[in-house]
């Protein structure tokens, strides 16, 4: 049984190419997004349907995009990471403190911040996997510790004076009028898409998340994969934190925490589209900008800022309900076709 490269797919029954299956389900969110944008554009042509507004939509929430990308890695292997937002805040604060208070150069501060959050991710992973505690609890705890740590090292101040170079390379410099930070997020999305769908590593992440026993008995080092996934989400949260410091030009000890729920909403909503039933990078990408487009539009229509929470919270619940309904429908189909 050698693994040959002959192109001789046996038997028929394949029917349509795989990518054409379930088009409606896979692109439903894209259609809803388009309708949303068209609707708001018709309602507020002078403010919503402007290049500037779209540039803002893409540029302003790129930090959320980066954070959500990091989050879907452990979600794929079946672990939560509730410490991502605190980790982001921690990284942003480290950048500000070491630049402003200690006068470090830009690059070393970035490396330090990202190294710190990566280690925190690794610690999360080791405790979750080696001791065998629910990731939900471990990362809830470590996230809270980080919040305390941030308040401690910052004396609860907002630290201003982050270097112009960082600000330039996140918001000021633009390509097609959209801030650099969006393009970083786009590159990260591309990288993750490639890893998830075109590498053995990405498949193993999925196998571990779908059945730990099965993966283990198939010779996959489940422990190592899970630890690596949580470490990666720490690393990416650190990158998001650096970007956040650059976007604001300052670091404050609390505002970054509000990214937690939107990141989960984007990840779960993303799992209903493109590759329904899986956390996937392009789905998450679409979900982030769907959420932002909606919120921006509502705010332009005059809604108060509380509409953000309503929208994000609602989206998370609707996303989870939809995934469950889709899963049940697939289950029924499976039963029907197996019978």
């Amino acid at each position: 049984m050698s693994r040959t490269k002959q192109i001789a797919v046996g038997g028929g029954g394949v029917g349509r190419p795989a990518w054409t299956k379930n088009l409606g389900q896979r692109f439903a969110l894209v259609f809803v997004w388009a309708i949303l944008v068209i609707g708001f554009s018709l309602a507020k042509p002078e403010t919503y349907f402007t290049t500037g507004n779209f540039q803002t939509i893409f540029g302003s929430q790129a930090v959320l995009l980066i954070l959500a990308m990091g989050l879907i890695i452990p979600l794929t292997t079946g672990d939560f990471d509730l410490s991502v937002a605190a980790n982001l805040t921690f990284a942003a604060m480290l950048v500000a403190i070491f630049q402003v208070d200690h006068g470090w150069a830009l690059l070393p501060t970035i490396l330090l911040a990202v190294a710190a959050t990566t280690l925190i991710g690794l610690a999360n992973g080791l405790i979750v996997v080696k001791i065998g505690i629910d990731s939900f609890i471990v990362t809830l705890g470590s996230g809270t510790i980080l919040q305390g740590l941030v308040l401690w090292i910052s004396d609860a101040r907002t630290i201003t004076g982050v270097s112009d170079a960082l600000i330039d390379w996140t918001v000021t410099n633009r390509i097609f009028g959209i801030s650099m930070v969006f393009w970083y997020g786009l590159v990260l999305t591309l990288v993750l898409w490639y890893v998830f769908s075109r590498t053995a590593l990405g498949k193993r992440l999925l196998f571990v998340g779908r059945g730990r026993n099965v993966a283990l008995l198939s010779g996959i080092n489940v422990d190592r994969v899970r630890i690596a996934a949580l470490t990666c989400s720490g690393l990416v949260a650190g990158l998001a934190g650096v970007a956040y410091a650059g976007m604001l030009g300052t670091a404050d000890p609390t505002s970054g925490l509000s990214f937690l729920l939107p990141a989960f909403a984007a990840a779960y909503l993303g799992a209903t589209t493109i590759q329904p039933g899986r956390f996937n990078p392009w789905g998450t990408f679409i979900a982030v900008f769907f959420l932002v487009s909606g919120i921006t539009g509502l705010q332009l229509l005059g809604a108060d800022s509380f509409v953000q929470q309503l929208f994000y919270g609602g989206a998370l619940i609707i996303a989870v309900v939809m995934s469950e309904l889709v899963r049940r429908r697939n289950e029924r189909r499976r039963m029907a076709s197996a019978a």
């Binding site: 049984m1 693994r3 040959t4 490269k5 002959q6 192109i7 001789a8 797919v9 046996g10 038997g11 028929g12 029954g13 394949v14 029917g15 795989a18 075109r198 590498t199 053995a200 590593l201 498949k203 193993r204 999925l206 196998f207 779908r210 059945g211 026993n213 099965v214 993966a215 283990l216 008995l217 198939s218 010779g219 996959i220 080092n221 039933g277 697939n330 189909r333 499976r334 076709s337 197996a338």
Partner: protein
């Protein structure tokens, strides 16, 4: 109960079973796997709805199907193999779990409950049980006895029917005697006991009468005092299938070179297992439920922790303590687990991904060659005759037989030198079963060493070159040649428990 019939999609699991248990009688229920024992129990506890039949309890007719959960008020009570106790609770909480769970009454008078529990324990000779002790602190035997007391107490102590479903499987010998003592005590109060077991010696020891099921029918009823082990074995196995022909030609060629040698394999349920596995042979491992035989493949694969054990594979020595599945695969060992849904494959993932799971690293791991993978998957589906031949179908949408063929293809694709199987045809239809046997036979003919752990004697007789029988964690018999018939294997398995006991007894004498 009388005339109970039940069929599942055209398969008759019960074809008009009559069962009578006298008040105060301990009645044994015997039968092979698949003879209908479990289905009958599930009709009794209301899990299955019988197609036909009636039931009478304490002289009153009972309406079938029983509403689930209503059996206790009717005077029916069950103790299953897992005992239904919750480890995290105390003895007393476990004793009162039904009342606590039903939410009747808002508060519990724990002092009164404690006193009641002490009284109850005293009545059944369990004075040493402390109501507030954690369940984890009492012995397996005491836990089993507690489960029985709870079941008897739930039906009021002096009437009704107590069903004991393989309660002794996890007990040490001394615990079995204490359990029997309690069973007889319970029966003496007027409770009828239905004792379900695989173990004929136990049935002979504790019951007053026996009903034997075979193929969903009552094959015979006997007074225990008037029967013996051999006639019971004959009733259970029967003779009509004597002509089952082995599928494989056993030409003896296989018997020459040793592929793997297992030495001193000991674990939670295994003691000093030693055997050789030869090139091109299919070695069966079997035994009664709970004998530990099903642990053998998992222990050799590093999927179940063991205390000690050595594996010599192609001249290399491997320490089985601390062995992991990843290492096993790299050493050329593959395991097809029995529980496809939990351990074997991913239901919500495509057939292609399942097939490629272990070999995905060899398709350019950083730039996966999707085309080559699809092509190879297509070949495998063809070779293993999986229907439909669609690598993009979800694994869970396949029938049981096709799922198992995919599982087999998946593990053989790792090109192992040793293939371990556990119940390879469980939940597989007859046609696919023959195909799987055929595939295994061909793989063995190519030099693969196959070990198959199974409780299905017919299957073992059909495919194996040798069969090892495990009892209480030890190998007690090896069958080969003319002894490899379904009847002989079943008989040896049924006799294995006493065998292991006698041998230990002799050892102690020496």
């Amino acid at each position: 109960m009388s005339g109970i019939r039940k069929s599942f999609g055209g398969v008759h699991a019960l074809r008009g079973v009559d069962l009578t248990v006298q008040p105060g009688e301990v009645h044994g229920l015997l039968g092979e796997n698949g003879s209908g024992k479990s289905t009958l129990i599930k009709v009794l506890n209301g899990f299955h709805q019988p197609d036909e039949g009636s039931m009478e309890l304490d002289g009153r007719p009972v309406e079938l199907p029983l509403a689930p959960g209503r059996f206790q008020e009717l005077g029916l009570s069950f103790v299953h193999q897992d005992l239904g106790l919750i480890r995290e609770l105390t003895v007393l909480e476990n004793l009162r779990i039904v009342e606590l769970g039903s939410g009747k009454g808002l508060s519990v008078n724990w002092r009164r409950e404690r006193a009641r529990a002490r009284e109850l324990f005293a009545e059944y000779g369990l004075e040493h049980l402390e109501p507030d002790a954690a369940l984890t602190s009492i012995s397996e035997t005491d836990a089993a006895l507690l489960a029985i007391v709870r079941a008897v107490d739930a039906i009021g102590g002096g009437r009704g029917l107590l069903v004991l479903d393989e309660p002794t499987v996890f007990l040490p010998r001394e615990g079995v005697s204490r359990l029997f003592e309690m069973v007889r005590g319970v029966a003496a109060r007027g409770v009828s006991v239905l004792f379900v077991s695989h173990d004929i010696d136990e049935v002979l020891e504790v019951t007053d009468a026996v009903t034997v099921l075979r193929d969903g029918d009552v094959f015979g009823v006997a007074r225990t005092a008037e029967t013996d082990k051999d006639s019971l074995i004959e009733m259970i196995i029967g003779r009509q299938l004597a002509a089952a022909v082995p599928l494989r030609e056993r030409d003896g060629r296989a018997a020459e070179t040793v592929r793997a040698r297992v030495s001193d394999l000991s674990g939670p349920r295994l003691r000093g297992i030693e055997f050789e596995l030869r090139h091109g042979e299919i070695l069966g491992v079997t035994g009664l439920m709970g004998s530990g035989f099903e642990d053998v493949p998992y222990s050799l694969f590093g999927a179940k922790p063991v205390r000690s054990g050595g594996l010599e594979l192609d001249g290399r020595r491997i320490d089985l303590a601390g062995f992991a599945p990843g290492e096993a695969l790299r050493s050329g060992i593959a395991l097809v687990p029995s529980d496809r849904q939990r351990d074997g494959a991913l239901l919500e993932v495509t057939v292609l991904d399942n097939l490629m799971m272990q070999v995905i690293g060899s398709y350019r791991p950083w730039r996966l060659d999707g085309r080559a993978m699809a092509a190879r998957a297509g070949e495998l589906l063809e070779e293993f005759d999986v229907r439909p031949r669609d690598p993009d179908a979800l694994f869970g949408s396949l029938s049981g037989g096709n799922q198992q063929k995919v599982a087999l293809a998946k593990w053989l694709e790792a090109e192992p030198g040793v293939l371990l199987l556990h119940e390879p045809t469980q939940g597989v239809d007859v046609g696919a079963r023959e195909q799987i046997f055929d595939l295994l036979g061909r793989a063995a003919a190519d030099g693969l060493a196959v070990m198959c752990a199974s409780s299905d004697s017919e299957q073992l007789a059909q495919i194996c070159d040798r069969v090892l029988i495990v009892a209480r964690g030890e190998i007690v018999r090896e069958l080969s040649g003319a002894d490899l018939t379904k009847e002989e294997i079943s008989k040896q398995v049924l006799q294995s428990v006493t065998l292991s006991e006698m041998e230990r007894f002799q050892e102690e004498l020496v």
